[in-house]
C-alpha cells in the first residue's frame, strides 16, 4: 500500500500559513478595516481638540500621524492570535514539524500586510487633511511601512504573552507601548526631517536597522511566548 505523504518542507508550511491567514482575515473584512477607520478617526479628533489652524497642524502633523498609526497597529494586535487560540489551531501550529519561529513570522507578515501596509498607504491622505507640507509624503509612507513592520513584530511578542489571558487587552498595551518608543522616535523624526527639507535617508536607515534587529530576535521571543501561553 502506498501512502502519499503530504509535503513537509519549510517553504510549503510558510506558504500554507500565509495563504490560510490571508484567506481568513479577508473573510472578516471588518477586522482589517477597523484599524484604518480608527486611524482616520483619531486624526479627525486632533484638529477638533487643538485648533484648525493649518500652520500649527502642519507643525505637529508628523508626530500626530505617527502616534495615531502606532495606536491603530497596537489595537489590531489583540486579534493576531486570539482566533487561532480560541479554535485550537494555535496548538496545531505548535505541534507542526516546522520550526515555530518561521511559522509565526509568516503570521506576523500577514498582520503587517493587512494592517501596517494599508496604514502606510492611507497616511498621506490624512497628511493632506493635516496640511502636511509637500515633499514629505513619500517619506511618511515609507517610514510607516518600514516602522509598522517592526511594530507588528514587537507587538506580536506582547500578543503572544497575553493570548491565554481572558482580559489581556489593556495589559497588552502596557507591555507593548514602551517597546514601541524607538520606532516612534525614528519614524516621526524621518517625517520631520523631510518637512524641514533635510535628507531623511539616515532616519529610514535606522528604521531599517530596527526592523532587521526585530526580524532577527522577535520570532524566537514570539515562539517562546506562545509555548508558555499554550502549555503553561
Amino acid at each position: 500500500m502506498q501512502v502519499v505523504e503530504p509535503k513537509t518542507g519549510l517553504a510549503v508550511a510558510v506558504k500554507a500559513t500565509v495563504k490560510r491567514d490571508l484567506t481568513l482575515l479577508l473573510r472578516r473584512r471588518g477586522e482589517v478595516l477597523n484599524p484604518l477607520v480608527f486611524f482616520a478617526l483619531v486624526i479627525t479628533l486632533f484638529p477638533l481638540g487643538i485648533s484648525p489652524d493649518t500652520d500649527l497642524l502642519a507643525e505637529i502633523a508628523p508626530g500626530l500621524l505617527w502616534v495615531a498609526a502606532l495606536l491603530a497597529t497596537q489595537l489590531s494586535l489583540d486579534v493576531l492570535f486570539r482566533g487561532d487560540f480560541d479554535d485550537g489551531s494555535l496548538e496545531q501550529l505548535l505541534l507542526a514539524p516546522q520550526p515555530l519561529p518561521a511559522l509565526v513570522l509568516s503570521k506576523v507578515l500577514v498582520h503587517w500586510l493587512l494592517t501596517g501596509l494599508p496604514l502606510a498607504v492611507m497616511a498621506p491622505l490624512l497628511g493632506v487633511m493635516l496640511a502636511l507640507p509637500a515633499g514629505s509624503y513619500a517619506v511618511l509612507a515609507v517610514s510607516l511601512a518600514l516602522g509598522s513592520a517592526s511594530l507588528s513584530l514587537i507587538g506580536a511578542i506582547g500578543a503572544a504573552l497575553t493570548v491565554g489571558l481572558a482580559r489581556g487587552g489593556v495589559l497588552l498595551s502596557l507591555l507593548v507601548l514602551p517597546l514601541y518608543i524607538p520606532v516612534l522616535i525614528f519614524g516621526a523624526g524621518a517625517v520631520q526631517v523631510a518637512v524641514l527639507g533635510g535628507n531623511a535617508a539616515p532616519h529610514l536607515a535606522l528604521l531599517g536597522a530596527l526592523l532587521a534587529l526585530a526580524l532577527m530576535l522577535a520570532p524566537w521571543a514570539i515562539a517562546a511566548a506562545l509555548r508558555i501561553s499554550i502549555n503553561g
Binding site: 511578542i157 504573552l161 497575553t162 491565554g164 489571558l165 489581556g168 495589559l171 502596557l174 507591555l175 507601548l177 514602551p178 517597546l179 518608543i181 524607538p182 522616535i185 525614528f186 523624526g189 530596527l210 534587529l213 530576535l217 521571543a221 517562546a224 511566548a225 508558555i228 501561553s229 503553561g232
Partner: protein, 253 residues
C-alpha cells in the same frame, strides 16, 4: 562547575549560605549609607553652579544605577529560569522586580525635585528622566504580567520572557531617547553631566552607590529567603526550620 551551579540552585543550600552572609550585607549597607549620607550632605563641597541642590546627586545617581542593574538582574534571573528551570532564580526575580520599580521611581522623584532649582520646573523631557520613565513602565508591565496569570509557573515564564525582551530594548530606548533629546533641546544641560568632578565630590557618590548595592543584595537575599519558605513550606527542612528545631534563626533578619 555544573554541580556547583545546581547546588547553588538548591533552595536549601542557598538558605544555609545566605544565613551566614546576610548580617554582613545588612551591616555593610547601613555603614556605607550612613557614611555616604553624612559625607554627601555635610562634608562634600557645594557646586559652584548649582549650590547645595547638587547634593541630590547622592541619591539620584545611585537610584538610577540600581534601577538599571535591577533590570539586568531581572533578565539574568529570567534567562536562568527559562534555560535551566532553576526555581530559585524565579524566586529572586519575584522580589527584584518591585525593588527595581521603587528605585526607578526614586530616580524619577529625585530628578523632578532637582529640576526645580536647576531648570525652574518639575519636569523637563531630559534624556535621563525620559528613559527612566519608560523603564518604570517596563517594570510595571513585568509585574502586571506576572500577576495576570492564574498559574504561578506560567506567570514566571511569561515575566522572564518579557524581562529578556526588555533588556534587549533598554539600550535601544536609551540611545534613541538621547538622540531625540539632542535633536529637540540642544541648549539644556543634563543634571549630572559635568566636566571632571573633583575627588571630594565623587568619592561620597561612590560610597553611596556601594551602599545602595549592598542594600539591594541584603534586601533581595532576605526576601528571597521568605519566598523560599513560602513556596517550599511543605518540605521537611522548612517545617523543621520553622519549628526552630534545627537551631536555625527563625526571627533574625
Amino acid at each position: 562547575m555544573w554541580a556547583f551551579i545546581h547546588k547553588l540552585g538548591s533552595p536549601k543550600w542557598f538558605y544555609a549560605i545566605s544565613t551566614r552572609l546576610l548580617p554582613w550585607f545588612w551591616a555593610a549597607a547601613a555603614v556605607l549609607l550612613m557614611v555616604g549620607a553624612a559625607w554627601g550632605l555635610a562634608f562634600a563641597p557645594s557646586d559652584y553652579q548649582q549650590g547645595n541642590s547638587f547634593r541630590i546627586i547622592y541619591v539620584h545617581v545611585p537610584a538610577a544605577i540600581l534601577a538599571q542593574s535591577c533590570f539586568v538582574a531581572l533578565a539574568v534571573a529570567g534567562g536562568i529560569f527559562l534555560v535551566w528551570k532553576i526555581r530559585l532564580a524565579d524566586m529572586a526575580a519575584t522580589v527584584i522586580a518591585p525593588f527595581g520599580a521603587a528605585m526607578t521611581f526614586l530616580a524619577l522623584f529625585s530628578g523632578a525635585v532637582w529640576g526645580v532649582p536647576t531648570w525652574g520646573t518639575w519636569w523637563v523631557w531630559d534624556a535621563r528622566l525620559t528613559s527612566m520613565l519608560i523603564q518604570l513602565f517596563l517594570y510595571l508591565g513585568i509585574i502586571a504580567l506576572r500577576g495576570a496569570f492564574a498559574s504561578r509557573d506560567s506567570g514566571a515564564k511569561a515575566a522572564s520572557v518579557l524581562a529578556l525582551v526588555g533588556v534587549v530594548n533598554i539600550p535601544i530606548i536609551k540611545y534613541s531617547v538621547e538622540w531625540w533629546n539632542t535633536l529637540h533641546q540642544p541648549a539644556t544641560f543634563t543634571l549630572t553631566e559635568r566636566p571632571a568632578m573633583p575627588v571630594e565630590m565623587w568619592l561620597p557618590l561612590l560610597v553611596m552607590v556601594l551602599g545602595f548595592y549592598c542594600f539591594f543584595i541584603a534586601l533581595t537575599l532576605t526576601r528571597t529567603r521568605s519566598e523560599i519558605l513560602r513556596r517550599e513550606s511543605a518540605k521537611r527542612w522548612v517545617r523543621e526550620l520553622v519549628e526552630g528545631r534545627t537551631g536555625g534563626d527563625t526571627d533574625g533578619l
